[in-house]
């Protein structure tokens, strides 16, 4: 022990002297380091191209480099702020949408950005290759480019402008045609060495260590970006981000990289702020997925009983430590455009749950249990695992014996979404601004096995399917919204799945970081106005 201390001290002393002697050349290289934001990152996606992979893990770093047509906004028209598009307008028949594009925008390699890039991205990447774009642009037939700043999307079937608008921030990342045309898009080197129009250029990637984003001096935003550099530092250990923040090695950790249980403590550290805003358009939902192939679970009374057995307030207060809200149905409160509060709700009531189960004909046996279930909590979040433990106890209280099966991510994925080897599963689906993007798929029938985050519980409701199909081609915004209100009512009544809670993530930042969380997708937006106060 003593020897370790000694070497540490000598090292530090020697280090200090040496650093001082080499300080000059070092600082010449790391110029502007004073205006460098260092952020914790927990994953290194192999494909960084947000036009192909529309996921938060990719957007987190890539959204600063490659921009969408529009970004989500707290106060903008339609909840959007213009980015590469300055306006959008749909035709009355819903078969075309016209985008006016920003003028004078340049790619990071100096070539001009034009409508040809948008047309290429839409037809060759978003529609055929992108995980979410396949759905939103399923009926996209052509993109006309009458001039360099106009792109007209033509659809073969009426496609609601409301859906397109809501999807824009997620599905419309534009990549340069001149680097992709004529190449194998999936293996194009630009998928890793991104070239975009954003406020930052991706200048360095050291696997396992960091991504370096450098200020784009030619950015179209006036006086932006405010930062010289953003470094995404890979910190795989959850305790690591908090420690690095406290030691001032990083200045920001988003996506709850600092675990909820550490927040109370770290919020008391001087110079550190805890922010729960800025994830309104990335709401995650805590959902009990139900396998309707199980005879007991096919009975709506049993599903209602399970809903009554769950104390949502306890889940929010104890598992999420208050950083969540109880759910009423499949659309979260953060989506006021669609949210309908007037749906059947299921108050925590063990007696009622017991009565419903008795009524359904599942009386308690001699050992106090009615039947056994296989319960698989998704391992992706601490909270989904913890809710698994809670649900087991809650079900035991009404005489249902749930056997927990914990597996790692890939195994859970296969068991639930391909093999259907579950009775109840706990999943964290995401609400992506419009129910048609990734919410209706959770209850719609006819989805082949193997599609993750979809209805794999064998639930089938013709009426619900009809509403979903109708909404998909209803162009009128008010009528479409009304259909989704009906959708919520049916889901909350028939309970194909049980929505328990909804949550956004937490950002923890040093006080010096400014303009944090100023839009509903802040962590995955371009950070052009983010600044550091020295």
């Amino acid at each position: 022990m003593t020897i370790a201390t000694l070497s540490r001290r000598t090292l530090l002393q020697a280090g200090g002297t040496l650093l001082a002697s080499t300080a000059l050349p070092t600082f010449a290289i790391a110029q502007g380091a004073g205006n460098r934001l260092i952020v914790a990152a927990d994953s290194e996606p192999k494909n960084l191209n947000p036009a192909i992979v529309a996921s938060n893990g990719v957007f987190f770093s890539a959204s600063k480099v490659v921009e969408p047509l529009a970004e989500a906004s707290f106060d903008g028209k339609d909840g959007l702020a213009p980015r590469l598009a300055t306006s959008w307008e749909g035709s009355a028949d819903g078969k075309s949408v016209t985008f006016k594009l920003r003028e004078g925008v340049k790619w990071h390699d100096g070539k001009p950005f034009t409508s040809a890039d948008v047309a290429y991205s839409a037809l060759n990447i978003w529609k055929p290759l992108q995980n979410l774009g396949r759905l939103v642009f399923a009926n996209l037939e052509a993109v006309d480019t009458p001039d360099a700043t106009t792109a007209v999307f033509k659809f073969s079937k009426p496609t609601p402008l409301q859906l397109i608008r809501n999807a824009l921030p997620v599905v419309s990342s534009v990549v340069p045609k001149h680097l992709y045309e004529g190449t194998d898009i999936a293996t194009n080197p630009a998928n890793v060495k991104l070239v975009g129009t954003g406020p930052f250029k991706l200048t360095e990637y050291k696997p396992g260590e960091y991504y370096r984003l450098t200020r784009n001096a030619d950015y179209w935003g006036k006086g932006e970006p405010k930062l010289d550099e953003i470094i995404f530092r890979v910190l795989p250990d959850r305790a690591g981000a908090g420690a690095a923040l406290e030691a001032e090695e990083i200045q920001l950790a988003a996506f709850s990289a600092v675990p909820l249980t550490d927040l109370a403590r770290i919020s008391k550290v001087p110079g550190i702020k805890v922010i729960s805003k800025g994830y309104e358009a990335l709401t995650y939902q805590l959902v009990v997925e139900i396998n309707h192939r199980r005879k007991e679970l096919a009975d709506v009374k049993v599903r209602q009983a399970i809903a009554h057995a769950i104390d949502k307030k306890f889940v929010v207060d104890t598992i999420f430590l208050g950083y969540a809200a109880a759910s009423t149905g499949p659309v979260p409160k953060n989506a006021p455009e669609f949210y309908d509060a007037s749906v059947p709700t299921y108050a925590f009531d063990t007696a009622k749950a017991n009565a419903l189960l008795d009524e359904a004909g599942y009386k308690k046996g001699a050992n106090g249990t009615r039947f056994s279930l296989k319960l698989r909590p998704a391992p992706y979040f601490n909270e989904t695992k913890q809710f698994g433990d809670y649900l087991r106890q809650a079900l035991a209280a009404v005489g249902i014996d749930a056997q927990l099966i914990n597996a790692d991510s890939a195994a859970h994925q296969k068991a639930v979404y391909t093999d259907h080897d579950f009775d109840l599963a706990i999943g964290p689906p995401v609400f992506r601004g419009d129910p048609a993007i990734s919410t209706t798929i959770l209850v719609r029938s006819g989805i082949p096995a193997g599609v993750p985050f979809s209805n794999q519980g064998g639930y089938e409701n013709k009426e619900l399917d009809g509403i979903i199909a109708k909404a998909a081609e209803t162009v009128d915004t008010a009528a479409r919204t009304e259909l989704y209100k009906q959708f919520q009512k049916i889901v909350a009544t028939d309970l194909p799945l049980i929505n328990v809670a909804e949550w956004g993530f937490i950002t923890v930042a040093r006080d010096t970081v400014q303009n944090v969380s100023n839009n509903p997708r802040w962590a995955v937006s371009n950070w052009s106005d983010t600044a550091l106060k020295s």
Binding site: I3, A4, S7, R8, L11, L12, A14, G15, L18, L19, T22, T26, I29, A30, S43, P45, K46, N47, A54, S55, G57, V58, N131, L135, A186, K206, P207, G208, E209, Y210, R233, L235, P236, D237, A239, G240, A243, A244, E246, A247, E249, D408, S409, A410, A411, H412, Q413, K414, A415, T418, D419, V430, S438, I447, A449, G450, V451, P452, F453, S454
Partner: protein, 329 residues
């Protein structure tokens, strides 16, 4: 010298079946885990439809039978081609050579430190078994050995990096610092103090205990009695007779521990965000990346075999009995 060459040849031949078994078992183990690379990938991107999954499985070769894939792997392995990592989209060999130096640095320094201090303290303790000094050292080592490495790593990090701010919390070097040459080496050394300390302290306890018990046993042996009756000085007896004999099991331990250390570095590398081998292995398993995991296992196995060979050579040098009676093949 002849002895050494014979040993190396024998070991090289016998390691081939070991490697084969390791590869097949790893393959089967990963195969028996539910879910494949496509499941893991789709999860990481938040889902995708059935046609994506289908085309990805084709691209990764996962639509072929298990035997066909194993055969493919072996046939490329004989040309020293470790294949293509599906989770990273890069050649396995590149990934391994990128990460291996960090792990070797971590493991090497931790092994050297723990062996050095462990045996030195073991000699101190074993020089006079049952003395106060021995009791203190033995108890201390027992406590150290009982501490899980991840806990020790976190505590060291909280105390020395977060509170005292003497050392960096994590990483292998200051990111994007532009340091070069000696300044960079020093920077890396600074970053390694805590992870190496966490890893070394625990293994040090192990070496201390083995050394100490070996010495305690040796004291009772006839040749020590003889040395004492000959009137040799106590320090000479301790170092030349007792310690040297007690060193043999320690060297054996060193070989065994090199494998354990490779495993232990997984935890330490995650805590201290060191882009090393252990973390790569963890990512390979969670990504169900068979080629990468097998590449890692093969390289690790080769590494362990090499270390053990070295240990045997050292053993032979320390103990003239080893290998002397082997037939001349």
């Amino acid at each position: 010298m002849n002895r050494a060459i014979r040993l190396i040849r024998r070991r090289a031949i016998s390691s081939i079946p070991v490697l084969l078994i390791v590869i097949v078992l790893t393959f089967l183990l990963l195969e028996s885990a539910s879910g494949d690379a496509v499941d893991a990938y789709l999860l990481s991107i938040g889902g995708g439809d059935a046609t994506v999954a289908q085309s990805l499985r084709q691209a990764y070769g996962l639509d072929q039978s298990m035997l066909a894939r194993l055969w493919l792997y072996f046939s490329s392995l004989v040309t020293f081609d470790l294949g293509w990592s599906v989770a990273f989209g890069r050649p396995v060999l590149d990934l391994i050579f990128e990460r291996l130096p960090n792990t070797l640095l971590l493991m090497g320094s931790a092994t050297a430190l723990s062996f050095g201090f462990g045996s030195a303290l073991g000699i101190l303790a074993g020089a006079k078994p049952e003395s106060i000094r021995d009791r203190v050292l033995s108890t201390g080592s027992l406590i150290l050995y009982a501490i899980p490495s991840f806990w020790l790593g976190l505590v060291l990090s909280i105390v020395f990096a977060v509170q005292l701010r003497w050392l960096p919390t994590s990483g292998i070097e200051t990111i994007a610092s532009g340091k070069a040459g000696f300044a960079r080496a020093l920077d890396i050394a600074k970053h390694l103090v805590l992870p190496v300390g966490a890893l070394a302290l625990i293994y040090m306890a192990l070496f201390l205990r083995v050394m100490r018990s070996g010495m305690a046993e040796a004291w009772a042996l006839d040749f020590v009695l003889f040395a004492r009756s000959k009137g040799l000085s106590r320090s000479r007896i301790v170092l030349r007779h007792v310690a040297r004999n007690a060193l043999l099991p320690l060297v054996t331990m060193l070989g065994l521990q090199s494998a354990a250390m490779l495993g232990g570095s997984v935890v330490i590398e995650s805590i201290f965000a060191i882009p090393g081998f252990g973390r790569l292995a963890q990512e390979a398993v969670s990504g169900r990346d068979a080629p990468l995991l097998m590449g890692i296992i093969v390289v690790s196995a080769v590494l362990v075999i090499c270390v053990n060979l070295l240990v045997d050579l050292v053993y032979a040098a320390l103990d003239p009995r080893v290998g002397a009676s082997e037939p001349n093949t």
